[in-house]
Symmetry: C2
Subunit: 195 residues, 2 copies
């Protein structure tokens, strides 16, 4: 097991309905040392790519993407979930359905911050049905920029999002892929991946 | 002028309606080197306090609070703006009105992540009418924990939020206090503060 899988086993809680709670260290209370290690690991996996921008989606994605942007020494852009009066009119938009919140959001990125010459690494904390990532990919493509890869902390391998994105030919790296989990026993089975 | 005031003058844009756009470096696209410097500066200003937790509010607050939590070597907790099915029932709540979005949100923090023995530094990117900060203070007090101070990147000094919080006796540190701004000329007047 890698460092994130070990932490999920130690502090993650499996709830009925295929919910994995990691809110004590990843997406409500955050362990900065763990997030820094996640940043270094994504840098290791994507450092051969000419990445000049990190793109994520609010809110918890920001905390995963921060140390990644720091490792690469590039700006971090986060997609916003609702139209703010402070966003200029010129925005890229995509519609995203949230597994957690059971609703649909318009996500937007100002056109000022994605250009055709950008080489983008997309980062998020969770991947389940892949809607959020598909929305971010769409936004990068609307800008005419290049998706260099996608980095996810925890993928739910029993949902179809990861396979769909890999089938499109993208380099998708998930640090922990949960293939099975059992709310009664608390057991979590991770997919074996090459180190 | 300090480093943040200089950056606001260089890249901030004054819009009608007392809107200061800093979305090219602070709250949509983020300059990580600048945020790291903000983290070091808040650590310098609050390092004499026994702080063991950083509290902020989603979304852009997370990117300001991350480097602060890293400097202090303590966990970061962010208040969420709407009830998620992944949040356990036991939460502290406060109602917060957004100046930017012109709406009210319930903000919540799980009771698991704030305890009476916690000494909390509250961090956010903007302070205008102070509603968000008042909500976070209320949540810390509901937990029986101690507010050790509040750190803000940009305060709108011509609104009453900052004065109200200082009048309550809290150590509130704003790295840049905008006393006046002019959408026609683009001029920004900062309050003089001791370095």
């Amino acid at each position: 097991m890698n460092f994130l899988e070990e932490r999920i086993c130690k502090d993650g809680i499996v709830k009925p309905g295929n919910v994995l709670k990691v809110d004590s260290f990843l997406n409500h209370q955050m362990d900065i040392a763990l997030l820094d290690e996640i940043g270094r690991e994504f840098h290791r996996r994507f450092q051969h790519k000419p990445i000049n921008k990190i793109l994520t989606i609010e809110a918890s994605g920001i905390a995963i993407a921060y140390p990644v942007a720091k490792e690469f020494g590039v700006p971090l852009v986060f997609a916003k979930k609702s139209k703010s009066i402070n966003i200029a009119g010129d925005v890229y938009t995509a519609e995203v359905e949230s597994f957690t919140h059971k609703n649909k959001n318009q996500v937007i990125v100002s056109k000022s911050f994605l250009q055709p010459e950008d080489h983008v690494l997309i980062i998020d904390d969770f991947l389940a049905n892949g809607c959020a990532l598909q929305g971010l990919i769409s936004i990068v493509e609307q800008a005419g920029a290049t998706v260099e890869g996608l980095g996810i902390a925890i993928e739910k391998g029993f949902q179809f999002g990861g396979r769909a994105i890999r089938n499109l030919g993208y380099q998708l790296e998930s640090l922990a892929i949960v293939d099975e989990m059992n709310a009664e026993t608390g057991e979590i089975v991770f997919r074996k991946q090459e180190a």
